[in-house]
Amino acid sequence: MAPRFFCGLMGPQGATQSLDAAGIDRAMVRIAHEIHEKNPGRLADLVLIGIPKRGDTLARRIAAVLARDHAVVAPVGVLDITMYRDDIGSRASLPKPSDLPGSIDGKTIVLVDDVLYTGRSVRAAMDALIDFGRPKAIQLAVLVDRGHRELPIRADYVGKNIPTAPGANVKVELKEDDGAEQVLVEEGNG
Amino acid sequence: MTSRDGRTTAPGSLLIRGGRVIDPATGTDGVMDVLLSDGKVAKTGPGLDAGGGTIIEAKGLVVAPGFVDVHVHLREPGEEGKETIATGTRAAAMGGVTTVVAMPNTVPPIDTPAMIAYVLSRAAQDGVVRVRPAGCISHERKGEVMADLAGLKEAGAVAFSDDGNSVMNALLARRAMINTRILNVPYVEHAEDASLVDAGVMHEGRVSLRLGLAGRSPLAEDLIVARDLLLAEATGAHLHVAHVSSRRSLEMIREAKARGVPVTCEATPHHLVLTDEAVGEFDTSAKVLPPLRSEEHRLALIAAVKDGTVDVIASDHAPHGPLEKEVEFAQAASGMVGLETMLPLALEVLVRSGAMDLPGLVRLLSSAPARLFHLAGGTLAAGSPADVTVFDPELAWTVDPRAFSSKGRNTPFAGRKVRGRAVDVIVGGRIVVRDGGLV
């Protein structure tokens, strides 16, 4: 991984840091808290399911906070949505294995993703989930909501709302996946 | 006056000035003029007077006897969708060929004197070069009953062949040879043992194995060549082996010639230039009989041309339409067009490669075939027919089948950059190609 240099908030290529490591950490704690608050009586049936690549990392972190701060043990799963996307071929789109922790029938699922944008990934994830079983409820947790929804989808838990221009690129970097730990907004040119 | 091949001779004179005149029959090779008069070659030499006739400037060009192609499929009658005498002879002219021997495997085949007369009359109407028909050896080309060879010759057949197939019946082949000897006409064999080739569609070897296509072993050619050499030796007939492709066959022909067996043979440009690799990924334009063979055979063929085992170059011009070629490889018709690419390919593989000099090639394209098939022409000696090909051996062009005068577009050479092209072509004193275009 090439080293990255930042001068204040502006990086090279016009990238602005919107969240640092501490900010991401606080977001995890808050989301775990809100999940705990919102699901009284259902905590035993709670399952966190991350959408790769970074959603599964975030799901594991939220599960860890739930265990630490709220003594809730929620199983964590990974859901690959490649075969449910509506844009085959337009991006690197190789299917990866899904790994769900047992049956999801009757469970309260919290889908976890890094960035909520058009809503299409979440739509694909819900279709995929429903092919695996019949959960009681599906909720959505995201680290960043950057707006520009194209589908009637809204997150139940948001780490940070970051209003962006349509051409901008929101880049989430996590220690486990990327080495670095931050959220960057790169001003694209559309 | 109309000659037997349907060409009228042009009155008046024509002077071809300042070219490199190559006439192997007379041993001429030098810059000089050629004067044509009343359909004949009047004189060859320096500083000739045009006598008020037309002048063709040939400076920097080669002036040769019109080429004689002893192996051409004109497809008329019966398959006019593929080629006609009109289009086929124009393709010949564009390739510098002034006499074609038309193969008799038309539909119906040329197996009666009336059919010979028909082809000649069509040639007189529509042809722009001389058409000399070959007649079938057997009735309906079935290899069973001998055709009326004497009648065919009387009507104008200059050779006999069941081309497309070998005469598989040895008794028929033997008797036909006895008769062709009496008639003094070449017996032309398409040498491939039909029972051995079975369902083969390309050369049997590494490429056929890779492509999973049934192979045709060179043994199929060798068996018939061996048989025919024995028969020719026994009967004294002039055996002409068409489109030889196998190394072993060439060795046998070489050996037979050394013993005085009256055998001659031809090589096609495609067998000299290409190997079975040209089939690539099932390219039907490279499907031909006998098949394009491996490099070993190709090199043996070049060596045989070089040492005189091969007597003539012939195109085996075989036009087919998309209906015959845009099908599964095994179902596709065999053959490729060749009249319009023969000269540059022969120059490439025989002259520019250093295998022989230019007069050597001109001999294989003109005087040698004319002599073997007893045809007028093939020389610029005074009194000969005024059939002349003026060509530029260096002119670079790219083979574009859409630009062919032939109806056939079936060539594996499409897109190939070649050098050498007929510029002016004269048949019986008439200009049929001028500056590289049909008149």
């Binding site: 690959d80 490649t82 075969m83 449910y84 996307r85 844009d87 085959i88 071929g89 337009s90 690197a92 789109s93 190789l94 299917p95 990866k96 294995p97 899904s98 279709d127 995929a128 092919d131 695996f132 079983g133 | 070897g205 590494r206 194995l209 890779r210 492509l211 999973g212 296509l213 049934a214 990924e281 099932f282 039907t284 209906l323 845009e326 099908v327 599964e328 490889f329 095994a330 179902q331």
Partner: protein, 320 residues
Amino acid sequence: MTTVDSLSAKDLLGIEPLSRDEIQLILDTARTLSDVAKHPIKKVPALRGRTMVNLFYEASTRTRTSFELAAVRLSADVVNINVQASSVVKGETLLDTARTLEAMTVDFIVMRHGSSGAPHMLARNLKASVINAGDGQHEHPTQALLDLYTVREKLGSIEGKTITLIGDIQHSRVARSDLIAFTKMGAKVRFCGPPTLLSADFGALGAEVHHDLKSALTGADVVYVLRLQFERHRMGLMPSVKAYTQQYAITSERVKWAKPGALVMHPGPMNRGVEIAPEVADGPTSVIVDQVANGIAVRMAVLYLLEAGRTKRAAAGGVS
């Protein structure tokens, strides 16, 4: 880790045009997609709205069904053309048949044909992706891919392994595709059969040519038995079926000549008791049934990756 994420060509005509990376990609993708069969709902919507035609000029229930299931599991629509009942018998050319299909906006044409190169001719003339499901004696690429997949699953890797194919190599498209496939992936391929059914020229194509079964099997990791076509005897290519069986049939004694635990494979359908003894076909190291199951996942991967490549080229401004 492979460096490609879709198939570069429009069609899958053979193993030969595939790169090693592309083969790896197909196998990895097939591995993931094999999970779909374990889902409560055994399909994913990836190819929803796409149409695949099974155009089979030779009967093959096994391969046709496998392609059909692969397409169905990806939510593509499938049309089976019954060639006997179609206009093929009325003298329509292959190209006309194909153009007719294309006019009906078909995305994939899966073709089985008795003539080597028939799918290549089709592919040159059509925008649809053509998948070769066996052409004459040329190639049967998806069979080779599922064979690779099966060996990798069972032995952990392909590289360095020795695969011995026994039988009528000369007329076998499976043998050709397997030769190219296993060689490309770093395995050694041996061919074994009587000289009339195994040309020495195969050596030049990269195979080790054996006419003696024992030497061919010694040290082999995979014993791959090909189906014997009885008409080869009528063609004079073997003295008799019995003579073949005596010399080349894989029996439980002979299979011991290979490495202990060597896999036994067969592309099916089997002539039990002819080229393979029943106890070997059903033996503990036989993976013949796995081959069939793996065929679906591999064909799903091929369909998906061809589609991914096509959309990718379209997005890049190329022609799809």
